[in-house]
């Protein structure tokens, strides 16, 4: 079942076409990877999906609904959640409160008490329960990443958009994250996780399917191993003459 | 037909006055463009310029035109002082902090002025003749004000585009991080831009007195602050050129409105024009907050 569909989505900034007539589909429960060098339009794509930008052309359909013109806060209750490349915690709130906010205003729309309990659950799942009463702005960058993830999960999303969530992480942490994500996909059934990564081996471990972006356009998509070994993809990352 | 003559005359005035408004607002736009700080106390600096012109004329018989460089230097110095004592520490603070700080600075200046100069209304009279041009009657002082404004705006344009420092400032407005990477000392740009912004604002106070040499008093600021913001937003907060052009438009609007409202019996045009200006501001902010000429 198709959960998210982008039809010929285009976004321009002045003279630059950041996203160029992109078609994309994400299935329920899928593990999709979106890959591409810096500037290929990945983050813009995310911003379009989560509603920070409105496309100049094209449509975005989520769970059967046309959400193209919807403001960001209206999309979240439908089941959309995302993390940011540079984490954006609510600094003066505790870790617990941060995650609880996700539960309060996400799809589950819980009240304060419930949300705080839900936050505890997710903190335990991710493994940062011991940090729960710490002020978010005092966390290390890595801890902030984990918190972002917990917060996004607390929103009970149908689709989870992760932005470079594993960049710069220790391999063992990466393992842990991938394990956790697989667990969530299986247990919550409906959660779809798509990652945007430079880390090829992480993508290979995690994603069943991969989409490669280049200069705002979709270059190629398909089964992970096949796509990542495609000469065009290698060229895009490493340049023509290297191979 | 006297009404339309008056209207034409007023509109002409409005365009001239608009150029002064434009210069008055350029400082505001510059400070926002470079430092991303909204100087809520803007009007207080215009007031200082006005008083500079007044005292120079009254005490030392210095004609207002010559007070312009004096006001500029005074403004630059004041700008540097304020920057290094307060603004510098607030560069990375949340927006609320700078709003409150500039607000308080404006009030402080007004209160010190009141303490030193009293709260009376003062004025002076510098009459160098009048130009008669068809239905339009324009004192030379106002023409002079327009001329000075245009020259200053022109000089600034040349400075921004042709000099190293001016170009560096434009770079910081465009892209702070990019400018840093290019080796531009952004900290220095901040202090210089702030000082220039304040300098321009104080200077414009002198120009304002060329237009309205009476009614100078320590609380005249807030009026101009409101006007400046309408103009700055209209022209695009962060775009000094937009501010200049928007100043014209506002000058026209203000004088036109004043004339037309004055025709309605029982209405005080002075007060009501301000109210209309305020509503106008809200409308612009709603429809196109980046201003008619972009810049944000």
């Amino acid at each position: 079942m198709v959960l998210l569909k982008l039809e010929k989505v285009t976004k321009k900034f002045g003279g630059i076409v950041a996203v160029d007539s992109v078609d994309l589909q994400v299935e329920q429960g899928e593990a999709l990877g979106i890959v591409g060098p810096n500037g290929s339009g990945k983050t813009t794509l995310y911003n379009l999906i989560s509603g920070v930008y409105t496309p100049d052309e094209g449509r975005i359909i989520f769970d059967g609904k046309d959400i193209t013109g919807m403001p960001p806060h209206a999309r979240t209750p439908l089941g959309l959640a995302r993390t940011f490349q540079i984490p954006r915690p609510f600094g003066s709130a505790t870790v617990r409160e941060n995650v609880a906010i996700g539960a309060m205003f996400g799809r589950a729309s819980m009240d304060v008490e419930e949300a705080l309990r839900e936050a505890d659950e997710h903190l335990k799942l991710i493994g940062i329960y011991n940090l729960r009463n710490k002020e978010a702005k005092l966390l290390t960058p890595l801890e902030k990443r984990f918190m972002e993830l917990a917060r996004a999960l607390a929103m009970k999303p149908k689709i989870l958009l992760l932005d470079e969530v594993m960049a710069g992480m220790h391999p063992s942490d990466i393992e842990k994250i991938i394990e956790t994500l697989q667990k969530i996909r299986k247990e919550e059934h409906v959660a779809v996780v798509s990652m945007v990564e430079h880390l090829m081996h992480a993508i290979t471990k995690f994603a069943e399917r991969v989409v490669v972006m280049h200069q705002g356009r979709k270059l190629i998509e398909g089964e992970t191993a096949r796509v990542l070994n495609d000469p065009r993809v290698i060229e895009v990352y490493l340049g023509k003459r290297v191979v | 037909m006297i009404v339309s003559e008056q209207l034409v005359s007023n509109l002409f005035y409005g365009a001239l006055l608009g150029s002064v408004y434009g210069v008055a607002t350029m400082g505001l736009s510059l400070i926002f463009g470079v430092l991303r700080i909204v100087n809520v106390g803007h009007g207080a600096f215009i007031m200082l310029g006005a008083f500079t012109a007044f005292w120079m004329f009254t005490l030392y018989s210095v004609i207002p035109i010559l007070s312009i460089p004096i006001a500029l230097i005074f403004g630059l110095a004041l700008g540097f002082i304020i920057f290094f004592s307060t603004i510098k520490r607030l560069i990375d603070a949340p927006e609320l902090s700078t709003l409150l700080a500039t607000f308080a600075i404006g009030i402080f200046i007004e209160e010190v002025a009141k303490f030193v100069w009293g709260s009376d209304y003062v004025g002076f009279s510098w009459d160098i003749g009048t130009l008669y041009l068809g239905p339009v009657t324009v004192p030379y002082t106002k023409l002079l004000a327009f001329l000075c404004s245009a020259i200053i705006a022109g000089l600034l344009y040349v400075w921004f585009t042709k000099t190293k420092l001016g170009t560096a400032i434009r770079a910081v407005v465009e892209d702070r991080e990019g400018a840093m990477v290019c080796g531009i000392n952004v900290g220095r740009i901040y202090s210089v831009s702030f000082a220039i912004g304040i300098g321009l604002t104080v200077l414009s106070g002198v120009l304002v007195t060329l237009f309205v040499p009476v009614g100078i008093n320590v609380y005249m600021g807030p009026d101009y602050t409101l006007k400046a913001f309408v103009i700055a937003v209209l022209g695009g907060l962060g775009s000094p050129w937009g501010a200049f052009i928007a100043g014209f438009l506002f000058g026209l609007f203000e004088n036109g409105s004043y004339t037309l409202l004055g025709l309605i019996p029982g209405v005080e045009p002075f007060a009501l024009t301000r109210f209309v200006a305020f509503v106008f501001l809200l409308i612009i902010l709603l429809i196109k907050p980046t201003g008619l000429l972009g810049g944000e």
Binding site: M104, F105, M155 | V267, F275, L282
Partner: protein
């Protein structure tokens, strides 16, 4: 409802208790305590907006002014019906200030902080110019109600209004504003405001309809401002002049009180209002007319050096102690 979350009201009730006791028992202290309570109420009301959203409304006093006029109009037009004019006045005051805030807020709160602040700069002046320019409600001459009130209600009753009654009402308003504040802090709305205050864009992506919450905080704060204007001004002074009731110095004082005590905290405005009220009361005897001259640098100093305010600072220090349950 989680009773524990309302514990911070206890220190507040204690302080109020002490103040009221002093006012009632010590000779001549009723007036100063009422004076302090005015500033506490002002701070508490303004905190609901400035403190919780992080947005500043430079035209805030306009809501107080409108509230004052609301009460004035009620007394003037319904006084002949007897004492019922007073509750009508309260009602009018709240409605008028809330309507204005809804009108301004629905437009201006869609904007980000700095733009919003700019938009509010002219509100109090704008309104004052409107009242004076269109000669509304007496125009520049304002409303003088004392004669009318004495005729309608008699001398003693009018005195009662302008002394005891208005002061008690101000105390009640201050306390209600505090209760409303902590209720907000404990509910979803409080968290939504926290999020938008910290990072408005991230809050939007989290599913928070920031405009809605900003407006809610704004009209609540405005409503209380209206109540203060109606009681501490009209009822107490029995006259209303536009240049007084739209005077920006009240906004400045409100800002200082909230920032001094700790923006966004429950107890902050109470301590801020108390400290400020005490300072002003005893110092204005020595320095009449230069309060803004002193206030302005104080505000700058607070913003630069001490932005979290008194309660904010204490909370930081008391973070892991039992005391923190009582400090919000």
């Amino acid at each position: 409802m989680n009773i524990r979350a309302y514990k911070p009201l206890i220190p507040m009730i204690a302080v109020y208790g002490v103040l009221i006791t002093i006012a009632l028992t010590v000779d001549g202290m009723w007036q100063p305590v009422a004076y302090f309570m005015f500033y506490i109420a002002l701070g508490q009301a303004f905190n609901i907006f400035l403190g919780l959203t992080g947005y500043v409304d430079f035209g805030y006093v306009a809501f107080m002014g409108l509230g004052a006029y609301g009460m004035g109009l009620a007394i003037k037009n319904f006084g002949h019906l007897g004492l019922i004019a007073l509750p009508i006045g309260i009602f009018l005051a709240v409605i008028m200030s809330m309507l204005l805030s809804l009108a301004v807020g629905a437009v201006a709160l869609r904007l980000r902080g700095a733009y919003f602040a700019i938009a509010t700069i002219g509100v109090n002046e704008g309104f004052r110019y409107l009242v004076e320019g269109v000669r509304l409600w007496g125009g520049t001459e304002g409303m003088i109600l004392s004669g009318f009130m004495r005729k309608t209600y008699g001398r003693e009753m009018t005195n009662f209004f302008s002394t005891f009654l208005s002061d008690v009402l101000v105390i009640l308003i201050a306390f209600s504003a505090a209760v409303v504040t902590i209720a907000i802090l404990n509910k979803k709305m409080g968290y939504a405001l926290l999020a938008l205050r910290e990072d408005e864009d991230a809050a939007k992506v989290m599913g928070i309809n920031v405009t809605k919450y900003k407006i809610m905080a704004f009209i609540t704060s405005a409503g209380f401002a209206g109540l203060i204007g109606a009681t501490a001004w009209t009822l107490k002074l029995t006259y209303i002049f536009p240049e007084d009731v739209f005077n920006i110095s009240y906004t400045v004082e409100a800002i200082v009180i909230v920032m001094l005590g700790g923006a966004g905290t429950l107890l902050g405005p109470m301590f801020g209002g108390l400290i400020y009220g005490i300072m002003k009361y005893y110092l204005s005897v020595i320095f009449p007319g230069i309060q803004l001259l002193i206030l302005a640098p104080i505000l700058i100093a607070i913003v630069v050096v001490f932005p979290e305010g008194l309660i904010g600072y204490i909370r930081k220090k008391a973070r892991d102690t039992r005391l923190s349950e009582y400090l919000r």
